[in-house]
């Protein structure tokens, strides 16, 4: 290589190097700015900030717990709904459907991922929330009303609505990754099962077993998306910093408190508290995405892993 290092090569390479390095710089700058901006709260409240329950900016009470709780519960709810459905879709597309049917369905599910978050929010406010208030909520309360999670007033806006919206939003990505890992399972595994007299479904279970860590990766990736999803959740979750057992009650997530309050946060400590939560969100998503990538890579190979992150 060294012999072809002409001036042109050097210039070209330097330009590209700078561009590539800008990505590194941006991420470093994001991290640095957030750490720096959250110093006031870090110094004042320390790590206890994370599990303090009270949130009242006007009295300078800053506890992140309600937001962490809301983020965790809404994301888990989303996974609970989206993972089985995504697995079902992916199995249908890879193991069952003829190509002619699988292609258009796969495309339509990809389109779900292209719809902007704010549009899901709009749809959530005016279609999903009324649906939950009028139909789904009453049905759940009538049949499972003895469970604390289904008690309380039905407004249509709250944790459950947030979870369902998130579920719809992460289904395409989870489906896409599971599809890739299923496709990466060698056909010899299917043939081995079939040759032993396995049914289609039993064969599918063998395939799923082969893809287990990739599927885990898909789930973790879905979690990463759910945790960071902002607009749609902000619009339907009710934005109230409380910890309630009921899924019908309003809640708050880290991302949505940032979206809803950042513009109004004028004094330094309030802003700092919000940025510290952003820092938490940043670190959590970085860890989750890194983990997902490792898991997916172990099955589907490098190329596929990077395709979805």
């Amino acid at each position: 290589m060294a012999q072809s290092s002409t001036l042109g090569d050097k210039v070209y390479r330097t330009i590209l190097f700078v561009a590539a390095s800008s990505i590194l710089l941006i991420v470093a700058a994001i991290f640095y700015m957030m750490v720096q901006s959250s110093m006031p709260t870090l110094q004042r409240f320390g790590i206890g900030f994370l599990w303090a329950r009270e949130w009242n900016p006007s009295q300078e009470l800053f506890g992140a717990l309600p937001f962490i709780y809301g983020t965790v519960v809404s994301s888990l709810l989303a996974l609970l709904i989206a993972v089985p459905i995504s697995l079902g879709i992916a199995v249908f597309l890879v193991e069952q459907a003829p190509k002619k049917i699988a292609r258009p369905i796969a495309f339509m599910i990809e389109l779900l991922a292209a719809i902007p978050s704010v549009v899901y929010g709009l749809w959530g406010i005016f279609v999903l929330a009324p649906f939950i208030r009028e139909y789904l909520g009453p049905v759940l309360q009538d049949n499972l009303g003895f469970l604390p999670i289904f008690q309380g007033r039905l407004t249509g806006i709250g944790m459950l609505t947030g979870g369902i919206i998130l579920a719809i939003m992460i289904t395409p990505i989870v489906t896409a990754v599971v599809r890739d890992v299923l496709e990466a399972v060698p056909n010899t595994q299917r043939e081995a099962a079939l040759a032993l007299g396995a049914t289609k479904w039993e064969t599918t279970m063998i395939v799923l077993g082969n893809a287990a860590s990739g599927i885990a990766g898909a789930v973790v990736l879905g979690l990463g998306r759910a945790v960071g999803e902002t607009m749609a959740v902000t619009m339907v979750i009710g934005n109230s910093p409380q910890i309630s057992a009921s899924l019908f009650e309003p809640a708050y997530t880290i991302a949505s408190v940032l979206a809803a309050n950042f513009a109004d946060a004028t004094d330094e400590i309030y802003l700092s508290a919000l940025i510290e939560m952003a820092l938490v969100l940043f670190l959590v998503t970085v860890v989750i995405n890194g983990l997902a990538k490792l898991l997916i890579m172990s099955v589907a190979g490098r190329a596929n892993a990077s395709k979805h992150t």
Partner: protein
């Protein structure tokens, strides 16, 4: 034998039930898409008019439109593309041509990390480094936030597309004594260009739909604004404000604006799909 037979019929039933369930999942998801798109079309179409497309928001009851939001979205997307595409493509070329080492792996990992970072955090970052020093929100801040979202996406697709270019093409040119930069610039890049272009289109569609990073960077504006140093309206932020407000007229405008936005995004997605499919 009878026991084996019952085992067998149980298996058949499980098989039938489970395979049907997976099909139902697929039908369910596509139905959700159709319901969402159906509502958008149904609710949105009635409010779309020339006035709506060109006017600025008026006090409730006086009509008004989203002309300034369309212009704002276009201007910020344009700024993001002007910055994001060259940087992203250059970074992608670097990764593909010189990135098979520890530094390349680091950049790759960091790029993937940045893609996974919630976009609201990009908004906060730009707020601290652009909005606070400038003392006000601006189209510039919004466009920069969108550019940051774009760069890693474009970089990774560019890398992927260049990796698809057969090595023989590169070697052929190198064998003729062409310097590496000429080979990369004149041979490899053009060969990968259509793939990079479709990736760029998808990235543009993606940032056009972003709301969170604009909320406190570009903010919003009630007026036509053609200056990047002033707060700027966007379709997405306008939809958010309309939707979360109390007025039904504005809700209707939110649907109409959504129809426009989703129409644009789906149009790009379908075009890209069509273009990439033909090659298979």
């Amino acid at each position: 034998m009878t026991e084996a037979a019952t085992v067998h019929s149980k298996r058949r039933i499980t098989n039938l039930v489970m395979t049907s369930l997976t099909a139902i999942c697929a039908v369910f998801a596509t139905t959700v898409l159709l319901i969402i798109l159906g509502f958008i079309a149904y609710q949105g179409i009635s409010s779309i008019s020339w006035e709506f497309l060109t006017d600025t928001p008026k006090p409730v009851g006086e009509g008004g439109g989203i002309g300034n939001a369309i212009v704002g979205s276009a201007m910020m997307t344009l700024l993001a593309a002007i910055i994001g595409l060259p940087v992203g493509i250059a970074a992608g070329v670097y990764l593909a041509e010189f990135g098979k080492n520890w530094y390349g792996n680091t950049i790759r990992f960091i790029a993937d990390t940045l893609i996974g970072v919630p976009s609201i955090i990009i908004g906060i970052f730009i707020y601290t480094v652009v909005v606070m020093p400038m003392g006000r929100q601006s189209g510039l801040a919004g466009g920069l936030a969108l550019a940051i979202i774009m760069i890693p996406i474009v970089a990774r697709t560019t890398e992927e597309m260049i990796n698809l270019v057969p090595n023989s093409m590169r070697e052929g040119a190198l064998a003729l004594g062409a310097p590496q930069w000429r080979v990369s610039w004149n041979i490899v890049l053009p060969a990968a260009m259509s793939g990079i272009a479709t990736g760029a289109m998808l990235a543009i569609a993606r940032i056009t739909g972003e709301t969170a990073p604009l909320l406190f960077t570009a903010l919003n504006s009630r007026f036509y604004n053609f200056y990047y140093d002033q707060p700027m309206s966007s379709l997405t932020v306008q939809i958010y404000n309309f939707a979360t407000g109390p007025f039904e007229v504005e809700h209707a405008m939110a649907w109409a604006a959504t129809l426009l936005l989703v129409g644009f995004i789906l149009f790009i997605n379908i075009i890209v799909r069509y273009l990439t499919r033909k090659k298979h």
